[in-house]
Each structure stands twice: as structure tokens, then as C-alpha cells.
Symmetry: C2
Subunit: 336 residues, 2 copies
């Protein structure tokens, strides 16, 4: 049963996360969550001839691991919802073409994990689908060359720059009873353009969208931050995390210590010299799949909010003088 | 009420198309459907400084016209589902950022009209949303420079090449009674890669995906082609249309004379020297919004199938030796 209240859709039963997986690369292995991944590649090319093919291989791996944990075969999945940062979502399309199951391709930039979970949850809860496979990935090398400068230039990174996570996450959603992590509500983000044009300061570009989604969610669902054990943004890093903390307090909805950002969790910023933190579609996907869901299943967290943040950034539109549009899609996960 | 049967979701009531609009450019105005558009731009730049900004302006226009016809204001729309062909769906993101409503960004290449209608219909039928705004666009000049060669090269076009439609289409879906065009079923496409690597022969790359979706739809829904007055593919052009006609006959599901392709309808191929036909996200969107829906409302067609075809093509992956993945999402529209 679905109940719409304002801009929030509440899910009465709530689809179950039947299986999930986190795949990462070398930097991710060296980070504080290194032990939480299902599979780690020491080779950034993952044995492939290009970084794009490596990212595809990581998505393939995440999908096969999540399916295995869910006990389902690919043919039992009604719809794949995936997307990534590469032009034309190339890794997602090639992963999809090998699976042989229907695809709804998404473009949510770094918010894709939450967007796919939100859409998948609504479609499964309603009975439109029996099962959904929500997948995303990112790769430091594919993202740098496409959005900023080719790696070979050796450009100096700004202190506000974030590091795109090399990795992929996959989530299998299904109907059914039993204990487990369930999706309880979805609130899609409004794209917000505050005029930021610095592609090395994505946290600032995306933070206002996260605040907008959080405040709409709390108001429309009549919940408050204290109803949740953990409140996450996807990849705001240090700068965006600070903006959100301050702004939510101004709005009378202080998030407090329960607020963290996946981009601050995935790396040790000091030790790994990661500047403002992690980012990318893979960031929230691997932190959720690898770390947060396990801690929910272990009873550490009962109710978790994830606002998957994304910068709908096009290098061409920046060259044409436009600014970066931010968006943040929210999902509420619970394990009672 | 939603009913899942095989890979098809049937919609018992079926969301209503509350308003729709078709916006085009000069070649579209000169084509056989020129009189069906809601607005036509004689300037391919639409008064903007770049083609990408022109495409954004066309999406803006299509949205405002469709909203006006639906009687809704933007703030009454629960979710915008849009996407286009430009890297990072740039026109879609900037149209979305001005509207101030929640966005679920899609990447379906030329299948986006059908993908957005399919997802929007399922979400509205289930009550997850009250209203959805499904939008897409394409522009000959943005697409040529991104996917093939910059226009200024003056490259000779292959006979199998198609012409990307310059235009945008928008559809407002809502719940409610009364007469009108309704969405009755959705069948998402499986991505299919038959090894085609020629970016000037997209019809051949996409045709197998259309056949796969049609045969799954007819089998799983226990319908036959003769149950429909018009069966459309999105943008297969002459070559893809012939492949689908022949293949569906081989499969024992002949589509017959009721089968047409939006890419063959939007231009006069001979008179306008359009080679194999029209293509692009805008192709099926403007033909559906401008021509087909009007004829459905006038009683000419009761039941229409649209398989929105898309080539999930990345210039980079073609350079890396990969082939073009096709996909086709099907929606069943009816006006009883």
C-alpha cells in the first residue's frame, strides 16, 4: 500500500532488500570501510582494456554478487534500474545488455543509488513489479577525464575537490515477509541551481538540494530528525556536510550527530589525502550496501535516511556559462 | 489497480493523459505533420546562443503548453520524468531546474518518451504519485555534433542515416474519470546488442529490441496485433521498419498495415531528402503528442501501441570497439 502525503510517498509494507553488494577499488580497500566490501579490485582497470570497461566489469560483479545473496537468478528480476556518470551511461548499458532483463535507464548523476531505490521501491510496493534490481557505479578515472581534466595532465587538485569512488553497488528489492531492511518512504528531489560554477566544489553545489529534500520530507511526513538513528547524504564531503548541518539548524530541524555523509565515511580524508571527501554514484551505493545495511541488520540502526545527492553537471554547459544543478533523492530504510 | 502478467504490467483504470504538446523546428514544420504541432520554431537556435540552450527552450515550451492544456500548474505536478540525448541530459536538467518540482531523470536515448510514459503511468496508477509530467526532446544540431560529426564538416550522409528530430514533447498524466486517452499497459524493453557498430544505421541496431518487446508483450498479455488499430515504433526509419515487419511475420505475429514508424511519419522522406527517416527522442514524442493522440481523441484509433525505440549508443564505446545496444519500451494507449 502506498500513501501520498505532500511530496512524500509512504510505503505501508515496504519492499525488502533481498540482497545487496558493494564492490570497490584500491583506495576504497585502503579506507576505513575496506573490510565491508564484498569484492575489491586491486587493479583500477579490473583486467580490462579501458577504464569504462573496468567500470562495466565492476557493475557486472556487483550485480552477480547481489543476485547470489538474494537467491534470485537474473531471469527472476522484473526490471533493472541503473545509471552512472559516464556519457550515455555506458557502463550501465553494457551491464544491462548482458543480463537480458528489462531496463529502465536512469540519469541522476551521483544521486542514482537513491533514485533507483526510490523508483524500485514504489514499483515493487505497488505490484507493478515483483522484483527490481537497483544498480549504480562510478570510477575515478572515467569521471576525471570526462568532467575535469585527463589524469595524464597531472592537474593540481583544489582543497574543495572530491575523489570519485571507484566502485559499484547493487540492491535487489522484492515483496515478502520476514525480517530485513525495508524501504519505508520515498521523496524525490527538486533540482536546485544556486549558481555554483566550480566543478571542483560539488559539495557546495549539491548541499542546497539536500536541505530542500530533508525539509520537505520532515514537514510532509510529520517526522523529525530525532526519529532516525542515522541521517546520510550521498557525497557532499566536508564543505557540503557543513552547509547542510548549518542550514538545517537554521530551519529548526537540526540533524545533530546522527548526520553523516557517505563521502566522509568511505575514505580517511587525512591519511589518504582525499581533500574534501569521496563522491560519485558509487559513493553512497557502496557505503549503503557495504556498511550501513550490515549495521542495520545487526541492530545498530533501526531507521536510516539517505538523501542521495547529485550534481547534474555537464562540462559543455559549464563551458557555455551555465551553473551546476543539484538534486537529492531521499529514501527511508528501516529494520525493525 | 496494477496486474503483472509475465513481463507486462496491465493498468486496470489507466492514468489519463490530461494534456500533451508537440513543439518542432523548421524541417518538422515542412513535413506532413507540420499542421499538428502546438508550436514551431523557424529559428533552429530558438533565439538562444547555443543549440543546447535552444533544445532546453523547446523543452520549456513543450512543458508550459502541456501544463496549460491539462489545467494544472507546475506546483501541482508530483514528479517530472525527463531525459534527452545530450551528454548528462543537459536540456532536461535545465528545464527541470526552472520548474521547481521533483525530478526523476531518465536515460533511455530515443526511447525516453515511452520510458517516461511507462514509469509515469505505473506510478500514477498505483497512487505513488497523483500526477506525472513526462517530457523529452532532441535537436538535430546537438545530436549530430555529439554522436557523429560536427555539422561544419559538411560530411556526406549515408543512405541509411536518419535525421534527428528537432523538437520536444510533453505529457501530463493524472488520475480521474472521464473520456480521454489512457495508458493501459507497460512493457519495459530488454537491451539487445546484435553487434551493429554503424552509427549511421541506427534502425538496424534498434529493430531487434522492438521485435523482442512486441513478442513478449503479445505473448504475456494474450493479445494479438489485430487487437490494435495502430502499432508504432519510435524511430526505426525505413530499414528498421522493414526488419521489424519481416521478423514479426516470421514469429507468427504479423503486424500488417497497421504498423508504422514515427520516423516515417514525421518527414516526407523523398521530398525532404531525409534518407532513412526521422529519429531522436523528439521523434516519437512529437508524433504521439501532435498527431496520434489527436486522432485517438477524434475516434480514428481506439487502441494504439507505441514501442519507443532507443539506441544506447556512446561515441566513446564505439571508439573502443563496442557495438550499439538497442532497447524498446512499450506502452499501450487507449481511448474508448
Amino acid at each position: 500500500m502506498l500513501k501520498r502525503t505532500g511530496s512524500v510517498t509512504l510505503l505501508e509494507e515496504g519492499p525488502l532488500v533481498l540482497g545487496s553488494s558493494a564492490v570497490g577499488g584500491k583506495k576504497e580497500a585502503e579506507g576505513p570501510l575496506g573490510g565491508c566490501f564484498d569484492f575489491l579490485y586491486s587493479d583500477p582497470r579490473a583486467g580490462q582494456k579501458s577504464w569504462e570497461k573496468a567500470e562495466t566489469a565492476m557493475q557486472d560483479k556487483a550485480v552477480s554478487l547481489a543476485l547470489k545473496k538474494s537467491g534470485l537468478s537474473a531471469s527472476e528480476v522484473d526490471l533493472l534500474l541503473n545509471g552512472d556518470l559516464v556519457n550515455q551511461c555506458t557502463p550501465s548499458c553494457y551491464t544491462a545488455s548482458k543480463l537480458g532483463i528489462p531496463l529502465a535507464g536512469l540519469f541522476g548523476a551521483c544521486s542514482t543509488a537513491a533514485e533507483s531505490l526510490g523508483l524500485g521501491a514504489l514499483l515493487v510496493e505497488s505490484g507493478a513489479l515483483r522484483t527490481a534490481l537497483c544498480v549504480t557505479s562510478s570510477h575515478f578515472c572515467t569521471a576525471e577525464r570526462q568532467f575535469r581534466t585527463p589524469l595524464a595532465y597531472g592537474a593540481q587538485r583544489a582543497p574543495s575537490a572530491q575523489w570519485t569512488v571507484t566502485g559499484a553497488g547493487a540492491f535487489v528489492l522484492g515483496q515478502g515477509g520476514g525480517r530485513g531492511v525495508r524501504l519505508r518512504a520515498v521523496c524525490f528531489g527538486r533540482p536546485i541551481d544556486m549558481g555554483v560554477t566550480d566543478a571542483s566544489n560539488m559539495g557546495a553545489a549539491m548541499a542546497p538540494a539536500a536541505c530542500d529534500t530533508f525539509s520537505r520530507f520532515f514537514t510532509d511526513s510529520s517526522r523529525s530528525p530525532s526519529d532516525f538513528d542515522l541521517i546520510l547524504t550521498g557525497d557532499l564531503g566536508q564543505i557540503g556536510h557543513r552547509i547542510v548541518s548549518e542550514r538545517m539548524e537554521q530551519l529548526g530541524l537540526p540533524l545533530g550527530d546522527r548526520y553523516n555523509d557517505c563521502g566522509l565515511m568511505v575514505y580517511d580524508l587525512q591519511r589518504q589525502d582525499m581533500h574534501a571527501g569521496g563522491s560519485g554514484c558509487g559513493c553512497s551505493a557502496v557505503v549503503l550496501a557495504g556498511d550501513v545495511l550490515s549495521r542495520m541488520r545487526a541492530g545498530t540502526f533501526k531507521n536510516v535516511l539517505l538523501a542521495g545527492t547529485g550534481a547534474l553537471m555537464s562540462p559543455m554547459s559549464l563551458q557555455q556559462g551555465d551553473s551546476i544543478v543539484g538534486v537529492a533523492h531521499l529514501v527511508w530504510l528501516s529494520c525493525e
